[in-house]
Each structure stands twice: as C-alpha cells, then as structure tokens.
C-alpha cells in the first residue's frame, strides 16, 4: 500500500515537472509581453520596456527562466519556511498573494455548487433508478441530456437576464397574480403526481394536495408581501420540523420504529424552544459561532436519541441528530430572512439584491447577516449555472450504478429474507451504489478549482480562472504557472484519493503494490 502511494506520488511529480515545463514554454511562446509598449509613442517608451524586461527577466531565454522559476517554486516544498516564491506577475505583485485571494474566491463559488449538485444529482439518480421506465425517468433522462448539452456561457447569460433582472423587477412590487399562482401550483402538483408512482388514485390525491398547498402559500405570500420581509417564524418551523422528523425517520429507521420517531419529534420540540433562546445570541453571530452551534445541534440530537433509546439506540440517535441539524438550519435561515429588509434597503443595494457580477457589493457595511446575504445574492446565479451543468452527469451515473446494484443477487437475497423495501434500498443498495460515485466525486473535486473558468469570466468573479485568462492574455507566465500548479496538484492528489477510496470501499479491488 505504502509502496503504491509512494510510487504514484513519484510518477505524479515527474509528470508535473514535464507538464509544467511545457506550460511555461507555451505561455512564453504565445506572444510578446512588450507588445503594448511597442505601439505607443511615449517619450519613456524605452524606459518602460526596460523596466518590464527587468521585472519579468525577458532577457533570459524561456527554458532557463523556467528553471529559475522552478528554483523559487521548490522552496514551497520546505514546510513552515514561508519562503514560497512563485515569481511576480506583470505589474510586480507576488503570484502567491494573488493566488491566495483567487483561491478563496473560486472555492466560495464552486463549493456550494458542487455539494448541491452532488446531493440533488444522487437523489434524482436513485429515484429514477427505482422508477425505471416511468414518466419521471424519461423526463429526468431528457433533462439530463438537455443540461449536458447546454453551453454554460449561454445559461449564464440567460440566468442573468431572467434570474437577476427579472427577479429584481418582481421584488419591486412582489405581487403574484392569481393565474400565475395557480399555474405554479399545477406545475408542482403535476411534478409530484408523476414522481410519486404507484396507483392512479394515490398519484392524483398527492398531486392535488400539493397543488392546493403551493397555491395557498403563494397567495398568502402575495397578500402579505412576504417577499419584502420574509421569515419563517416559530410556527412554520414547528410545522416543517414535524414534517422533517417524519421524513428523516422514514428514511433512516422506518416509521415502525416508534422510538426513533419519538426522538426526532422531541428534537423538533427542543429546536422550537431553543429558537427563542438563541435569538439574542444570534445577533452577535460570527462564522465560528455558527459552526459551533451546528455541532451543538447535532450533539443535542444525539443526546436525545441516546436518552430515548429503544431497541435500536443507534437508529434513534441518527434520526434525532439529522432532524435537529435540519431544524437548526431552518432557524439559521429564519435569522437570515430577518436581516433581509435591512439588506434590501441598504444604500449600496438600493432594492436590487440579486447581483449579476462580482463576488461582493463594493464597500458594503453591515453585520454578519447582511454580509452573509450579500455573498449569497452574489453566489446564487453562478451556483445555479454550475449546478445545472454538472447535475446531469451525477444523475446519469447514479442511475446506472443503482440499476446495476438493484439487479445483484444479494439484493434478491435481502428481499427474499423479508426485509422491507426501505431497508433493501437504503441499507443494501444505496450504500453499494455510492462506491463508484465516490470515485467520480473525488475526480470532480480534483478538477473543481480549474473547472469554472467560463463561469468566472461571465460573472466577473476574480478567481483562479480569471487569473489564468488574464495571465494568458498578457503573456505573463508566472500567474499561469501558479494556477496550473494548484489545479494540477489537486487533480493528481484527488485522482490518487479516488483510487485509494475505491479499493478501501470495495475490498474486491486491490491496488497493485
């Protein structure tokens, strides 16, 4: 195992050396960094050209410059020495600084999108596999192919137009006309009726209930101008919490496990009580505090499950922990919504909250909640674009994997010995279907940092892709090399992790030592 890892790392280092040499030469050969000075007729033309030649060492031929760069980059390998030197860019800023800033921007952009795409994609894939050859399956398959064929720059411009400008216009006067409300209700109802499966009566009934529910909520929102001052409030949190408790118990333990259901419901009750207690605390929120509160929520849930116990204590604990985490998330959401009017009327935002470019509103001031909302409104459009594009492959892959697993002999055995369908799907099939997906996810995380070049350029996020494109257009090898190093190293490390994870998860696959 260790030999295998060491050998892989050695090969990776060699490949990295070769590829970085190639990239450096290509960037250097792609144009003339002095071109912008050659055309001007300023008096200090020669001086400017000399200064840049000096800065970028243009008098040294590119292959030699590469080795100089390599010498600086090699110092990054020395731990804690803080002598990392990746050269300077064309305006004299050290690349390491620019890289750190860009990395944060890119990670905030892609992390949420990837996590959501994975969650939604896997869920859709499993549902379509369980309802193979149903209307839902065909619909999702078609959508997957469609999203797969969408050029991201086109989607991004469409989202800007309808998601941002259209929604901001709507917020100016948030009234939903009756026909629109009914139309949206019908759409949701039809979706549920198609998705739910089973007999016609059950489908129509569920669809009808959802239709009435959605339409009523929309009319209520419109009448109370909810979109101007949104909020959940303790009542809604309690109602939704009970729903979550039932759903989580259904998935993790089955409704027959009364103790698990009880602990999930108790968790909801505790959450509603805590809603009032934590409000003053949340006014002084920081990021660390939110993380600690999330951990505390999970711990409280585990404690409730432990105390309620039952014949299977683990199941109760799991159900209660997941429920209390979700209820905690709703409390967080509610607090963000409370900050919405402040953000909406901020002098910098001026009532047009959904932004089309950048990562933050310039010069905005406010507390944790306002700043959080600000980055949320900036992230929502690029995140949606990225999700749409990457959703398709996860859905298709999960579906294929799940279908293959559902045809396995051990699934038939599990059914034959009388396990409930929930146990078969959640315990036996789902976990094994996740094994091949784990490798895909690792691959994708590896390619994440460099994968959003076009999205970044359309939404003007100054992340890694921006740095890269900017470096190429100015014939500036150092930033390009910096971005390349980050992208290539993460890709290779995660490829290795993918292989190791596969062999760890599936004992039939052994790594070649």
């Amino acid at each position: 195992m260790v030999t295998y890892i060491v050998r892989r790392l050695m090969t990776a280092a060699l490949i990295l050396l070769g590829a970085s040499f190639l990239v450096y030469l290509l960037t250097a050969a792609s144009g003339d960094p002095l071109e912008e000075y050659r055309a001007i007729s300023a008096a200090n033309k020669q001086q400017l050209m000399d200064a840049r030649t000096e800065l970028l060492q243009l008098d040294v031929p590119p292959p030699l410059r590469y080795f100089k760069w390599l010498g600086g980059a090699a110092q990054c390998l020395v731990p804690f020495a803080n002598s990392c030197d990746l050269g300077k860019n064309i305006v004299g800023q050290p690349v390491t600084d620019a890289l750190g800033h860009a990395l944060i921007q890119t990670l905030t952009l892609v992390t949420g999108a990837t996590v959501l795409a994975i969650l939604v994609g896997i869920t859709l894939g499993i549902i379509t596999a369980l309802r193979q050859y149903s209307a839902l399956d065909y619909g999702v398959t078609f959508m997957a192919f469609l999203f797969f064929s969408l050029p991201i720059f086109w989607v991004a411009v469409l989202l800007k137009e309808f998601g941002a400008i259209g929604f901001n216009n709507f917020l100016r006067n948030p009234e939903i006309p009756m026909p629109t409300a009914i139309g949206i209700g019908i759409a949701f109802g039809a979706l549920i009726a198609v998705a739910i499966g089973g007999e016609l009566k059950r489908r129509v009934l569920s669809g009808g209930v959802v239709f009435l529910f959605v339409t009523a909520i929309l009319i209520y929102f419109s009448a109370t101008e909810w979109f101007k001052a949104p909020g959940l409030g303790p009542v809604l949190i309690a109602i939704a919490g009970v729903g979550i408790a039932f759903a989580v118990t259904l998935l993790t333990a089955g409704l027959k496990n009364r103790k698990a259901l009880q602990s999930a419901l108790i968790a909801v009750g505790v959450g509603v009580v805590l809603y009032f207690l934590v409000q003053p605390l949340l006014d002084q929120a920081t990021f660390v505090m939110i993380v600690l509160l999330a951990i505390a929520a999970v711990l409280v849930g585990l404690g409730i499950g432990y105390l309620v116990g039952g014949y299977d204590r683990g199941q109760s604990m799991r159900a209660a922990a997941i429920t209390s985490f979700l209820v905690g998330f709703m409390i967080l959401l509610d607090r963000f919504m409370q900050a919405w009017p402040t953000y909406f009327n901020n002098s910098r935002v001026r009532g047009r909250p959904i932004a089309t470019i950048g990562a933050t509103t310039p010069n905005i001031e406010g507390d944790f909640w306002v700043l959080g909302l600000d980055s949320f409104t900036h992230l929502i459009l690029p995140t949606m674009a990225l999700i749409l594009i990457s959703l398709a492959s996860y859905t298709r892959f999960t579906r294929a994997s799940m279908l293959e697993i559902m045809n396995m002999d051990y699934i038939r055995t599990a059914r034959a010995k009388g396990l409930s369908e929930r146990t078969v799907v959640m315990r036996h099939a789902f976990r094994n279907a996740l094994i091949p997906i784990a490798t895909i996810v690792a691959f994708d995380i590896g390619g994440l940092i460099g994968g959003a070049v076009i999205t970044e350029s359309v939404f003007s996020v100054r992340g890694m892709g921006f740095l890269f494109l900017d470096g190429i257009s100015h014939v500036d090898p150092n930033p390009v090399m910096g971005v390349f190093l980050c992208v290539a190293i993460t890709a290779m490390v995660f490829n290795l992790i993918a292989d190791l994870a596969y062999s760890a998860l599936d004992p039939r696959v052994r790594v070649k030592a």
Partner: protein, 368 residues
C-alpha cells in the same frame, strides 16, 4: 479495477447460451442467428431517442450546408453571413408560426443588417466541421495509442501512458490560446500561420483533435488489455498471425463498440469546447463566425435584440443534444448486457410461471 478472470468469462458465455430468458427479458434476438452488425443495427433502430436525434441532426446538417453554401459552392439562401442588407422591421425576426411564413430575415438581423439565419447556418457549419475533424483525429490517435500500449505493453505502454498523463493535465485553454496567438501573427509567415489564417476552423479542429484523444486512448488501452488475454487471440497467434493482423482483424472489431460510442461522446463535448473557446475569443475569429462567437458578440445586446442570442444558442443545444442521443442509442445497441427489461412483463410472467428461469449472468457482476 480488476479484470474479469477466465472463470467469469466462461460462466458468462455459458449463461448467455442458455436458451431460457429470465423473466421479463424480451425474447433474445440473437437466437435467430443474426450477425453482430445486424443485432446492433436492429437495436439502434429500435431506440426512438437515437432515431429522433439522427433525424434532427441530419436536418440541421443538410440545411446548414446547403443554405449558405460551402467552400465556394453557392447555397440556396439569398444572403451570406457577411452581406449587409437594409434593416427590415428594425432587425426583428420575420418568421412566424401562425400563419406559417418564412419572411425576409427569418431569424432577424444584427445591428448593422447582416442576416442572422445566414450567420447561424455558417456557425453551425463551423461547429459540425470542427466536430467531425475532432472525432476523426481523436479517434485515429486514440485507437493507435491505446492499441499499441494495450497490446505491446512494456516500455511502449509506459511512455505512451505518461504522455497521455502529461497532455491530460495541460489545460486545453492555454493550448488554444497559444494556437490562436500563433495563427494571429500573419507577419511571421510560417506555414502554420498561413494555413491557420486561411482555414481557421479546420486548424482549430485539427488542433483540438490533437489534444482530445487522451481519454479515448485510455479506454482503448483498457479494452485491449482485456481482449489480448482471450483465447481467440492465442489461437490467432499460434496459427501465425502477425501483430498487426491480430490488432486490426481480431481485437479491434471486438472493441469497436466502445470506440464508436466514445467517439460520439467526444464529438458532442467537442462542440461545447469549440463554442466555449470561441466565446472566450481564442477559437474562431471574426470576420468568420461561429455559434460561440455569435453569442459572445451579442450577449450585451440581450435586452434590445434577444433573437441574436436565442438562435445561435438554440442551434448549439440542438446539435449537441442530437449527438448525445445518438451516442446513447449506440451505447445501448453495442452493450450486450443491456436487455430491454420490461417490468410489467416480468410481473406477468413471474406470476404465471412460478418457476421462472434462474437468473443468468446478465445481471451478474462484471467489472471491467
């Protein structure tokens, strides 16, 4: 991943020979004694999504190449993509569904009066050309590299696979930018820039083909690694066949399914790559046009002239979608494990015939 052992292979073959199909699996067509080509064709033609994709793609292909002409051959459409004509109706599209009419400028005109239909068709031509060039070049290189490294193994494999590793991590965007810069320097007078400035899109396709063979080569290598251990290869070698004959006559026909499916998928990805590169300004350059370039030029004008944005995007999606559906149909057609499984029929047969045939290896584990 582990390769299937000999034992598995034999068991799978034995299972495939069993005449009794499992519950719900439609009567096996292969039993009639059709050739592999006939089976694949039959399955492909039964895949409605793929057929629709094929028809749509054929329509777009024919219209795109006949309407504005290609390589100096004039087309039937009255404008070409560079011609400026007076604005009709402020450039709005003149076509309408009801009453069905085509009008003077069915897709509208841009700000200076160029016909958008002609430009879109020209862009579609470019995209389709790039797609085929990439498919052919990537397919050829991928097959050769994959076959050589998978069949001969040893140092050839080591060198070729390290080469693929290097190419896979060099960003395509950088390579495209370098090529665009080199093609842009007309003064340097090298044969490359001369070629690239006259056949911009062809150069782009060749170039993208030269870097997009890597995943294909890996797949083909895996396929060759499995197939070279099979008995028919041993038999051919013992009867004195040369390496080239074994590769091209014995192994390649067995790997052709994987090859065709993945070339199709590479081609659909290639369209998106080409449009994305043109969008970023390193692909096809003005005065020539491409679908990505059209969107890039007109994204600012969305509020005033949305049609300039809708039609090129629609064509990208249509071409890519139809190719994807064709690829899906091909995959289903070539994959012998895919039986059309009918849940209703399974229930019926399952209830009528209690002793349904034992499950065969169709759904057994088979990890390549």
């Amino acid at each position: 991943m582990s390769q299937p052992s000999q034992q598995d292979e034999i068991m799978a073959e034995e299972a495939a020979l069993q005449p009794t199909p499992a519950a719900g699996i439609e009567p096996v067509l292969e039993a009639k004694g059709l050739s592999q080509g006939q089976i694949v064709r039959k399955r492909f033609l039964g895949h409605s999504g793929a057929i629709i994709g094929l028809v749509v793609f054929a329509l777009i292909f024919i219209v795109a190449f006949t309407s504005v002409g290609y390589w100096g051959i004039p087309g039937w459409w009255k404008y070409n993509h560079e011609q400026v004509s007076p604005l009709v109706n402020d450039g709005a599209p003149t076509s309408s569904l009801w009453p069905l009419a085509w009008g003077e400028h069915p897709f509208g005109q841009d700000r200076i009066g160029r016909d958008l239909f002609a430009m879109t068709m020209r862009g579609a031509q470019q995209s389709i050309t790039v797609m085929f060039v990439i498919g052919i070049i990537a397919g050829l290189i991928g097959v050769v590299v994959g076959a050589v490294s998978g069949y001969f193994r040893g140092w050839a494999e080591a060198i070729l696979m390290r080469l693929t590793d290097v190419i896979i991590i060099v960003p395509a965007l950088l390579l495209a930018a370098v090529m665009a810069q080199m093609a842009g320097r007309r003064d340097s007078g090298s044969w490359f820039s001369a070629f690239a400035s006259t056949n911009g899109v062809l150069a782009l396709g060749i170039f993208l083909g030269l870097i997009s063979w890597v995943s294909l080569a890996r797949l083909m290598r895996g396929e060759f690694l499995t197939l070279r251990e099979r008995e028919f290869v041993d038999a051919a070698r013992i009867s004195g066949a040369s390496n080239a004959r074994i590769i091209f006559k014995h192994i390649l026909p067995n790997a052709v399914g994987v090859l065709i499916v993945n070339v199709t998928l590479t081609m659909s990805a290639a369209i998106l790559t080409e449009t994305a590169l043109s969008f970023l300004g390193v692909g096809v350059k003005a005065p020539d046009t491409s679908l990505g370039l059209l969107i890039s030029q007109n994204q600012q004008a969305f509020a005033t002239r949305p049609w300039l944005f809708w039609f090129p995007g629609l064509f990208i999606v249509l071409i890519c979608l139809s190719i994807n559906f064709i690829g899906d149909g091909l995959r289903d057609a070539f994959d012998p494990r895919q039986k059309k499984f009918n849940a209703k029929k399974a229930q019926e047969t399952g209830s009528r015939v209690p002793a349904a045939a034992p499950v065969t290896a169709f759904d057994g584990p088979k990890d390549h």
